[in-house]
């Protein structure tokens, strides 16, 4: 859905409309990397402007770049809102859309070529499946075209209105789908509407038999229709068919009946329902569709429609226009009252539908529709103010509506636009006004009056009163030469009025009364009496004084201590000799450690004075003595020679900081340090312990074995024997098992040390110890009984 996109796009772009040009960029203001925050704001405006046009029209971006890079070229001057500009910018935008459509068509064709041989094989083996599969394939292919046919229609229609795109040859690739759709019995009125639309624009070769078949089917659809969209597409298709061929009878016999059944869906507030099933949902876009449909019915009627029906219809339109909404700058638009998330359409497409419906009804009937001219003009302003919508559908809505407004029977809006709203006194620019229709066609004979001009912000002081602009037929523009002779630099509101020469035209055209346009008059500002001085605080005696030649090159080298003051003063005068107050006048002191201090200059009448009393500022300066660079910024939007100057430096001798003095904030680190490559990490591995020489360790191993040897020798000397070892088979077995068990446990310990973990070891130990207890008990019990026997014996 395009709704949300176009809505947000609209609000975002509104600042660039006729009524509110974005402020111009100070042409010569060079913004350093250390620009003060306030100095950046014109830059931001500029960026807003460029992001709007970015990717849409490179021309617009170029003017913006040249404005920033200097040269006194006004930034916004080129962005007039006349219709012809939209045509220019549209061309790039649309090329890609049509390429996409062509591509879609080719891809679909390839797909069908690929599918066919395989289908052929299958069908040969299963002849009875043939019909089922063929129809299914057709539906699939048609479905894949439907999307592109609608898009193709909208794209082609936009091209037709703009008069471009004739060199794009998409007829060969698109016509087969059109014929397929029209020839197929499965296509509904929706398909046929867009197919016929494309056909009308591409003039595919379709014979009258096909048309006749379509006509009869469409008539059947009209009679069977029960929702508004059914009527819309089938009657729309019949209308297209009527334009395409005169051979076939497309007229509706029961036009009154159809008219009434569509009218039955209307609501009391002038809006419509899409179908009678949901009585609650009334929609403005449905009203637009219904108006178009009814206009179609009137045109297709075989006999005259009842005039009372048409009169109620025009009443409905007037009621519908009561629900129109308005922006502050005089743009009118329609929006859905109930936002249905699923079928939400933005104001752009809703308004477009209503405008199309209105103009269709106006051209189909002889009834005059009483609508105030400023509403029609407001609608035109709405479509022009949007700029270029993001989506192709939004663009189609805009262009189609503008085309309807271009030549409608209600009233044709005339748009007053200025090629340049920034006028330079240096270049002696003329005030130039152009009046055209929405798409840039010539207006009827008329004259433009400058009713008054006043400074922005103060409404009372009118500078110029009622002057008539001279018409320059060569450039098709209205000029006023004398204006700049009496207007000083500044921001002004100029109020224009269009007066039609021919009084009959007043019913045809909507001029919308007075139009307010903001105008910027720029000029070179002179700097006088600039001087910088160091004063003694107590007595006010001048220590050092230097005259400055602004905005020339200066290299000051001053020195001061905390008991002194720095005073900078200068005068600004406009070309007319009036004192001038710039938007920005800053003094910037930057210490060697990049700690910056910005002071705003105050002005006393004519003179700008910055007085720095260092005694009061020592705390603010963080007691940082040393060299400070002095930088002066004077800038304004209407000042052609805005500047940012390095004046030189001052050596400050400030007292030592007391204990509790706040430290200077850390300056942002060098970006290279922050984002550059980090130092390489070297890992420090644990150095291996010092090991003794292996001979020493081995000799001690031998030494440890010595006590075992001594133990064995001692045992032998004591005459130890194994005579006590049981001789009976059973007890001997148990004794052997007991010793084997102990050996097994010890072996398990060794394994535990070498590779096993504690859990495995304990598990094994559990089993072994049960076994060991059993055999150990038997063995020792045997020994005990033997010794007891010995004792008793």
């Amino acid at each position: 859905m395009i709704g949300l996109e176009s809505l947000s796009g609209y609000q975002y772009n509104r600042t660039n409309f006729v009524g509110s040009f974005s402020p111009t960029t100070p042409s010569n203001l060079r913004l350093g990397s250390n620009a003060s925050p306030a100095a950046i704001s014109p830059m931001l405006n500029c960026r807003l402007y460029s992001s709007f046009f970015g990717g849409k029209g490179d021309k617009a971006r170029d003017t913006e770049v040249s404005a920033v890079s200097g040269g006194g070229e006004p930034a916004v001057g080129e962005s007039g809102s006349g219709g012809s500009d939209i045509v220019d910018m549209a061309k790039d935008n649309w090329k890609s859309t049509v390429e996409t459509i062509t591509y879609l068509g080719e891809r679909a064709k390839e797909a069908s070529n690929e599918v066919t041989p395989r289908v052929q094989q299958v069908l040969e083996s299963h002849p009875d499946l043939r019909d089922v599969i063929v129809s299914h394939l057709k539906v699939t292919i048609v479905m894949s075209y439907i999307y592109s046919l609608k898009e193709a229609y909208e794209a082609l229609r936009t091209f037709e209105i703009l008069g471009i795109g004739k060199e794009l040859n998409i007829r060969d690739s698109t016509c087969p789908f059109v014929m397929d759709t029209l020839g197929s019995s499965s296509s509904n009125s929706w398909d046929m509407f867009y197919a016929l639309g494309v056909n009308r624009l591409l003039k595919c070769e379709i014979n009258d038999e096909v048309y006749a078949g379509i006509a009869s089917r469409l008539k059947a659809y009209v009679n069977a229709a029960n929702s508004l969209l059914d009527f819309y597409y089938s009657i729309g298709s019949l209308r297209l068919l009527k334009d395409l061929t005169s051979e076939i009878d497309v007229l509706l016999v029961d036009a009154d009946g159809i008219f009434q059944s569509i009218k039955a869906l209307s609501q009391s507030d002038g809006r419509w329902r899409y179908s009678s099933n949901d009585p609650a949902s009334s929609s403005t876009s449905a009203a637009g569709a219904a108006l178009q449909t009814l206009a179609g019915v009137v045109l297709l009627a075989s006999s005259e429609i009842d005039q009372s029906l048409i009169r109620t219809l025009t009443n409905d339109i007037v009621k519908l226009f009561d629900s129109i909404e308005k922006y502050d700058d005089g743009a009118y638009y329609f929006d859905e009252k109930v936002a249905d998330a699923r079928e939400y359409q933005g104001p752009l497409s809703v308004t477009s539908l209503v405008v199309r419906g209105l103009t269709a009804v106006a051209s189909a009937t002889s009834e005059s529709i009483n609508l105030p001219g400023d509403k029609i003009l407001g609608l035109a302003k709405f479509f022009l103010a949007i700029g270029i919508p993001d989506s192709a559908k939004g663009f189609y809505s805009q262009i189609e509506a503008l085309a309807c407004l271009e030549s409608n029977r209600v009233s044709i809006p005339l748009i007053l636009s200025l090629p340049a709203t920034v006028l330079s006194l240096t270049r002696k620019d003329q005030l130039k006004v152009r009046v055209t229709t929405v798409l840039g066609s010539k207006a009827p004979p008329l004259s433009v009056k400058l009713i008054q001009a006043f400074t922005s912000g103060s409404k009372d002081a009118s500078i110029i009163e009622s002057q008539e602009l001279t018409f320059d037929s060569e450039n098709d523009a209205h000029l006023l030469d004398a204006v700049l002779k009496s207007v000083d630099v500044g921001k002004y509101q100029f109020v224009f009025e269009i007066v039609l020469h021919d009084s009959e035209n007043k019913n045809i055209y909507a001029t919308g009364g007075r139009t307010k346009v903001p105008i910027y008059v720029t000029g070179v500002i002179k700097v006088d009496n600039a001087e910088i001085s160091v004063l003694d605080s107590d007595l006010g005696t001048v220590e050092t004084q230097k005259k400055l030649d602004l905005p020339g090159e200066t290299a000051l080298s001053l020195s001061a201590n905390h008991l002194q003051k720095l005073r900078l003063s200068f005068q600004l005068t406009t070309p007319f000799g009036n004192p001038f107050q710039p938007h920005q006048a800053f003094l910037n002191l930057r210490h060697e450690t990049q700690v910056e201090h910005i002071f705003v200059s105050g002005n006393s009448g004519k003179q700008f004075v910055i007085m720095l009393d260092f005694l009061g500022l020592v705390d603010k300066f963080f007691y940082l003595s040393g060299r400070y660079d002095i930088q002066l910024t004077v800038g304004d939007a209407v000042m052609e020679n805005s500047y940012l100057l390095e004046l030189g430096n001052i050596d400050l001798d400030l007292p030592e900081p007391p204990e509790k003095a706040s430290r200077a904030p850390p300056q942002p680190a060098d970006l290279y340090l922050r984002y550059g490559p980090k130092a390489e990490i070297t890992h420090i591995f644990r150095s291996p312990e010092k090991r003794p020489p292996p001979e020493l360790s081995l000799s001690f191993f031998a030494l440890v074995l010595l006590p075992i040897l001594g133990f064995v020798v001692g045992l032998l000397r004591l005459g130890v024997n194994l005579k006590n070892f049981p001789t009976a088979t059973v007890s001997a077995t148990f004794a052997i098992l007991f010793h084997l068990g102990i050996a097994a446990v010890l072996l398990l310990y060794v394994l535990f040390w070498v590779k096993l973990d504690l859990f495995t070891t304990l598990k094994a130990l559990g089993f072994l110890s049960i076994f060991l207890m059993f055999v150990g008990h038997r063995t020792l019990a045997h020994l005990a009984s033997a010794s007891a026997k010995l004792k008793s014996a």
């Binding site: 020493l696 360790s697 010595l706 045992l715 004591l718 130890v720 310990y749 040390w753 005990a784």
Partner: protein, 116 residues
């Protein structure tokens, strides 16, 4: 004079000690020998540590404690087995030996775990 008499006295003392020890039952002598073996093993490791250094310390500790622990357990066995000790008169030497084996196994499980 005095020196030679002292030497004689000492000799006489050792003589009496040896004769008295000769009367000790053989199984106690075996245990004594075993205790000596264990203590010497531990002492050699301590000497090694004094010469070379204590790395790896846990291995050294487990080695020394194994020796000392075994010696202590053997001394306990000797006390229980000795017939002169009336305190353990009712305790059969087989039972004492079973305790000794069990304690040794537990001790060495810990030692092995600690060995690293």
């Amino acid at each position: 004079m005095g020196k030679s008499s002292a030497t004689k006295d000492a000799q006489a003392l050792f003589q009496s000690l040896r004769s008295a020890y000769a009367a000790t039952p053989t199984n106690l002598k075996i245990i004594d020998l075993y205790v000596m073996f264990a203590v010497f093993t531990a002492v050699i490791q301590v000497v090694y540590m004094a010469i070379v250094g204590s790395f790896p310390f846990n291995s050294f500790l487990s080695g020394v404690l194994s020796g000392v622990g075994t010696a202590v357990l053997a001394v306990c066995l000797r006390i229980q087995v000795n017939k002169e000790n009336k305190e353990f008169k009712d305790l059969p030497p087989e039972r004492a030996f079973a305790d000794f084996v069990l304690c040794n196994l537990v001790l060495h499980l810990v030692i092995m775990n600690f060995l690293g």
